[in-house]
Amino acid sequence: SQTIHQWPATLVQPVGSPLSLECTVEGTSNPNLYWYRQAAGRGLQLLFYSVGIGQISSEVPQNLSASRPQDRQFILSSKKLLLSDSGFYLCAWRHGSYNEQFFGPGTRLTVL
């Protein structure tokens, strides 16, 4: 069966510090991968998606970036965090032949 992991689970960072969030998927190959952000009490905002290694598309211009160095690894980064980057970051995967998206457990990021 497929599983999706996110690391770390929680993170508290000062404004201006760098960020690296990791997402890995097990049990499938060549998944479509997604990064979402969920603000408190709000819906999900798509940040990035990837259909393959090195292929990243951005939905919203911001100070975040994403990379896909391996087939089942998706990384969300920032060089300098802003207060507005605080939120719940969710990674999701989808098999290319199916519609269903499956979410990871999320990373709670607080920028102080």
Partner: protein, 114 residues
């Protein structure tokens, strides 16, 4: 046109009652309509989904009703239980340029009271 409007924002239901959450969309390109359940501090979990060629889909106590002409769909939770207390998101998606473009509703916080 990409929006999915979800209502109500919050809902309180007695145990054993029926919870109903509604969503409406504009883009007729949407061809897949999932519902997600999210508990506090957890990632959303896929609950049930429907395609527009079906008017209703039932899985256990959860039913999606779909009205293609009205561009509306709803989630019904029968015999609601305290364990159903969570935030529910509707979504609508279609394939664009080789990837699935998903638009989420803003969520409904459901509280089922004993």
């Amino acid at each position: 046109q990409q929006q999915v409007k979800q209502s109500p924002q919050s809902l309180i239901v007695q145990k054993g009652g029926i919870s109903i959450i509604n969503c409406a969309y504009e883009n007729t390109a949407f061809d897949y309509f999932p519902w997600y359940q999210q508990f506090p501090g957890k990632g959303p979990a896929l609950l049930i989904a429907i395609r527009p060629d079906v008017s209703e889909k039932k899985e256990g106590r959860f039913t999606i009703s779909f009205n293609k002409s009205a561009k509306q769909f709803s989630l019904h939770i029968m015999d609601s239980q305290p364990g159903d207390s969570a935030t529910y998101f509707c979504a609508a998606s279609f394939l664009s340029g080789g990837y699935q473009k998903v638009t989420f509703g803003t969520g409904t916080k459901l509280q089922v009271i004993p």
